[in-house]
């Protein structure tokens, strides 16, 4: 090599490749090409996994802190609450904002969703929201009556559309067959009567999207009249000369004499709970688009108006559930080591002909469907099942007090030990196969007893296998869902079962996501450990 390079270098310049480029650069290019080719081969799969697997998990993690529902359902209220002093009740403007938000939400039938979401934090809100949804469209009726009495034109849908709509929208909407083009406010109206304009826009867009009706033909909701009253009370419209100017000026002169419930009175009339500081504090606490609330719930804490507190005693279940999951996974791992070690030892020391045969007995359960094995245990462990039958037949157990082997922790531990045992035996076996038998023989010839030779020579060399098997079994056990669900009963279920419950039954997806994130973090730490100890590319299957 040195001769060849010496021959190529006529002077002291860099070593050149055949095409005249410096060898260093040429090599670097070749290396780059090689890297690119490898990456190109990997890229399709990587993109696939990213889209089909990693993105969903990231999406779930995001869901555990995401909390846009309050600010989406009650946008005006959330804004108005920003400068609320939690010592007292919110001001009239906030109650007014709540009216416009709520009537819109009730028409869109999304207020109950928010109600159930906030109910996770403060019980009672769900029913308060449901009940308020039925009465909110009456708020402002007293003002509406007085406006219409003053001038029946206020009852006309047309009047409102002309007053509020942008001129080109009015033109397009009056020609339209059904809902017409999306509503647009006239600039003049929104400058003159901001609250009314905002409330009317909410109304117009909602009837267009929800009922496919044209605002030109729909009389506005009562709360819009209340908005108009409130606007007119503080604005002087004498300078206005747009559409319906006469009507407005007439109304402006008359509103001083109107009587009716203020927004807060109307809400308190609807339900006393709207005077409860706690309800408002909950809405305020969960108005940020992101929340730690779900994570706090996952560890039995909660976000209250006064800061973070422990959950009431009877609602603390998640820490217990995490503890139980870890304890049971630990028990299962322990059982697997105890049962797997002798088997792996036997297999690795028998001549390969008989060990291959016996290995089949390990691989058959490994390849057998999880549900087959779970149903087998269900059949075996029942009160009237095979094991109890045998015990009664032998006479160990009396017929009337058969053992409860299933639908409890014991059932889960037995069935899962069986299911995960091959995952312990296979890594143990592959490590034990590499331990040279001559070491033990050497120890014995030096005078060690069988036990000492095992303890001092063989066992230490098998520890990597134990480590690999234990982490693998523990990782798999901690996330198990199907088996605990079927044989676990009330006391033998894992955190996974709770996650599934929150996704499919209680629909508290945020909490499910938060619990899932904690579980995932736990597993990833173990995975990282496994990678450090064993190396992920050293996983063996059969």
């Amino acid at each position: 090599m040195s001769d060849a390079t010496a021959a190529n270098t006529t002077d002291n310049g860099p070593v050149l490749a055949a095409d005249g480029t410096p060898l260093k650069r040429s090599l670097a290019r070749a290396l780059r090409v090689q890297k690119m080719r490898a990456l190109l081969l990997i890229a399709p799969l990587l993109i696939f996994i990213m889209v089909a697997f990693i993105a969903p998990i990231v999406d779930m993690l995001f869901r555990s802190v995401e909390n846009q529902i309050t600010s989406e359902t009650l946008p005006r209220t959330v804004m108005a609450l920003e400068d609320w002093d939690p010592e007292g009740l919110p001001d009239e403007d906030t109650y007014a904002a709540l009216t416009y938000d709520f009537v819109e939400a009730a028409e869109r039938r999304i207020h109950t969703r928010l109600g159930s979401r906030l109910n996770y934090e403060t019980t009672g809100i769900s029913s308060l929201f449901r009940q308020s949804g039925r009465g909110v469209d009456d708020i402002g009726e007293d003002y509406a009556d007085q406006f219409i009495e003053l001038n029946p034109a206020w009852e006309e849908a047309d009047t409102w559309a002309m007053l509020m709509g942008a001129p080109d929208w009015i033109e397009a909407a009056s020609a339209a067959e059904d809902a017409g083009p999306s509503f647009r406010l006239s600039v003049a109206a929104s400058e003159l009567l901001p609250e009314t304009a905002d409330a009317y826009r909410g109304f117009a867009r909602t009837v267009q999207q929800e009922d496919n009706d044209n605002p030109m033909a729909e009389e506005p909701w009562f709360p819009v009249y209340m908005a108009l009253y409130r606007d007119l009370m503080r604005t002087d419209v004498s300078g206005y000369d747009g559409p319906m100017a006469d009507l407005l000026i007439e109304a402006d002169a008359a509103v001083e004499g109107f009587t009716g419930m203020s927004p807060s009175e109307a809400w308190l009339d609807l339900n006393d709970d709207w005077g409860d500081r706690n309800v408002w504090a909950t809405i305020e606490a969960f108005s940020d688009p992101y929340t730690a609330g779900y994570f706090l719930t996952s560890i039995d804490l909660r976000l209250t108006p006064d800061g973070i507190e422990a959950q009431p005693e009877e609602q603390r279940i998640y820490l217990l559930l995490f503890q139980r999951t870890i304890f049971m996974s630990g028990m299962i791992t322990l059982m697997c080591v105890l049962l797997g070690y002798p088997i792996a030892y036997l297999l690795s020391n028998l001549p390969s002909k008989s060990s291959n045969l016996l290995l089949i007995l390990v691989l058959l359960p490994f390849w057998t469907s999880l549900l087959v094995r779970t149903s087998a245990w269900k059949v075996l462990l029942q009160q009237q099942g095979v094991i109890n039958d045998i015990l009664v037949w032998i006479g160990i157990v009396a017929d009337e007090n058969r053992l409860a082997l299933i639908n409890n922790q014991l059932g889960t531990i037995i069935a899962m030990t069986h299911i995960l045992l091959p995952f312990m035996i296979l890594p143990l076996y592959s490590v034990m196969k590499t331990i040279p038998p001559s070491y033990v023989r050497a120890a014995k010839s030096l005078g060690a007893t069988n036990f000492t030779a095992f303890r001092r020579v063989y066992f230490p060399q098998s520890i990597p296998g134990i480590g690999a098997g234990c982490i693998l079994v523990f990782i798999l056990a901690i996330g198990y869902y199907i088996t605990p669900e079927l044989v676990g009963g009330r006391t033998g279920t894992f955190i996974s079962n709770r996650i599934a419950y929150h996704i499919s039954s209680s629909l508290n997806w945020g909490l499910a996501a938060a619990l899932g994130s904690i579980l995932l973090a736990l597993v990833l730490v173990l995975y990282w450990l496994y990678d450090r100890i064993v190396g992920i590319d050293n996983v063996k299957l059969g």
Binding site: L31, Q34, A38, L39, I42, P44, L45, L46, F48, A52, P56, I57, M60, R63, L339, P342, I343, N349, P351, S352, N356, I360, L363, L364, P365, W367, T368, S369, L370, L371, V372, R373, S375, A376, W377, K378, V379, L380, Q382, V386, D389, H418, L421, N450, I478, G479, Y480, I482, L486, I499, A500, I503, W509, A512, A513, G516, L519, L520, V539, L541
Partner: protein, 337 residues
């Protein structure tokens, strides 16, 4: 451990020697017995989950195939499928004989089995067990093809000598096996709903393909470790382009790994419940899903018949994998005996 007891062994050594074997025997019994128990129970003539006195007395009347009849149902056209399969198999054998000069009866068996299954499962409407079976057999192969295709390519890429971020990439690719299924299922449920894949055949296939990938990566990488790179270099030296080299040299040698990876991916999809429950809808109800619902709500003994059929399938798959492993060991010159 000594495999034979020496004649001079002490009493203690004898007890330990046999005691250890008894313990191991009991553990093997623990591993196998539950699976074996359900097989006779599935022939129970009654709707029980336990051995009836008649069964214990080996009374033929206590045994029946009724649960199997219920499992296999009435619909479909198994015999027509079998006939078509046989015809295709014979045609393939004749074609092989004519064009390649080899006599191989293997295609007849394969085509007949495929014809029988396809015939049985075609034209079914709402049969309790066969419709889920058909769904399983539609989802698993497509998912397997996806994971084997992507996975083999990536494993070859990963086996090259200079791969940047190899560790990180490997960790990402293996993660579907490590992440608890309920978390994968939850994430996929939310995400796939968002992009309109939830409750679709495509959604379930993609989810199952992702779950099968680690198995393909692991098995194919393992075969590639023993792959002699000088073979591809020799091929290139003799003028073969990379594609030819791949299909003529590399592929035949790593095929056993690819096939057993594919079988793992297949069984992963075929056996998977959690993700399909969340990502699928009633139209994608698979066999394990049906078993899961059955076990949770009311246990019908038909489940045991289904379980026995699944055990038979896993025995077949296990045999195939074992034969492949032995073949590859033979090819690599490792004598297993």
């Amino acid at each position: 451990m000594d495999t034979k007891l020496p004649p001079y062994a002490t009493v203690g050594q004898r007890i330990w020697f046999y005691g250890f074997r008894v313990i191991c025997g009991l553990i093997f019994f623990f591993l196998i017995a539950p699976i074996l128990t359900i097989i006779p129970l599935s022939f129970n003539a009654e709707d029980f989950f336990t051995f009836t006195p008649g069964m214990l007395a080996l009374d033929p009347d206590a045994y029946s195939l009724r649960h199997y009849r219920e499992f296999f149902g009435q619909g479909g056209y198994p015999w027509i499928g079998l006939l078509i399969g046989l015809a295709l198999g014979i045609a393939a054998t004749v074609a092989l004989k004519m064009f390649k000069g080899t006599t191989n009866y293997f295609p007849i068996v394969i085509f007949a089995i495929i014809g029988l299954i396809v015939g049985k499962l075609s034209g079914l409407e709402g049969e309790e067990w066969m419709t889920p079976m058909r769904n399983s057999l539609r989802i698993a192969p497509v998912a397997t093809l996806l994971s084997v295709g992507f996975g083999t390519l990536a494993a070859i890429g990963l086996s090259q000598s200079h791969v940047p971020f190899k560790g990180a990439i490997m960790a990402i690719l293996i993660s579907p096996m490590i992440v608890p299924l309920i978390i994968s299922a939850a994430g996929m449920y939310f995400f796939y709903s968002r992009i309109g894949l939830q409750g679709t055949f495509m959604g379930v296939v993609l989810a199952h393909a992702a779950l099968g990938i680690p198995f393909v990566i692991i098995t194919v990488t393992a075969t590639l470790v023993g792959f002699d790179r000088s073979l591809t270099r020799a091929a290139a030296n003799l003028g073969a382009n990379p594609v030819t080299t791949f299909f003529r040299i590399q592929m035949p040698l790593i095929l056993p790994g690819v096939i057993s990876g594919g079988l793992f991916a297949f069984i992963t999809s075929f056996d998977e419940v959690v993700v399909v429950i969340f990502v699928g809808s009633a139209g994608q109800q698979t066999l394990p899903w049906q078993m899961f619902t059955g076990l949770r709500e009311q246990i019908s003994p038909t489940i045991l018949a289904a379980a026995t059929v699944l055990v038979a399938i896993s025995v077949i798959l296990l045999t195939v994998v074992e034969l492949l492993r032995q073949r590859s060991e033979r090819l690599r010159g490792i004598d297993p005996h």
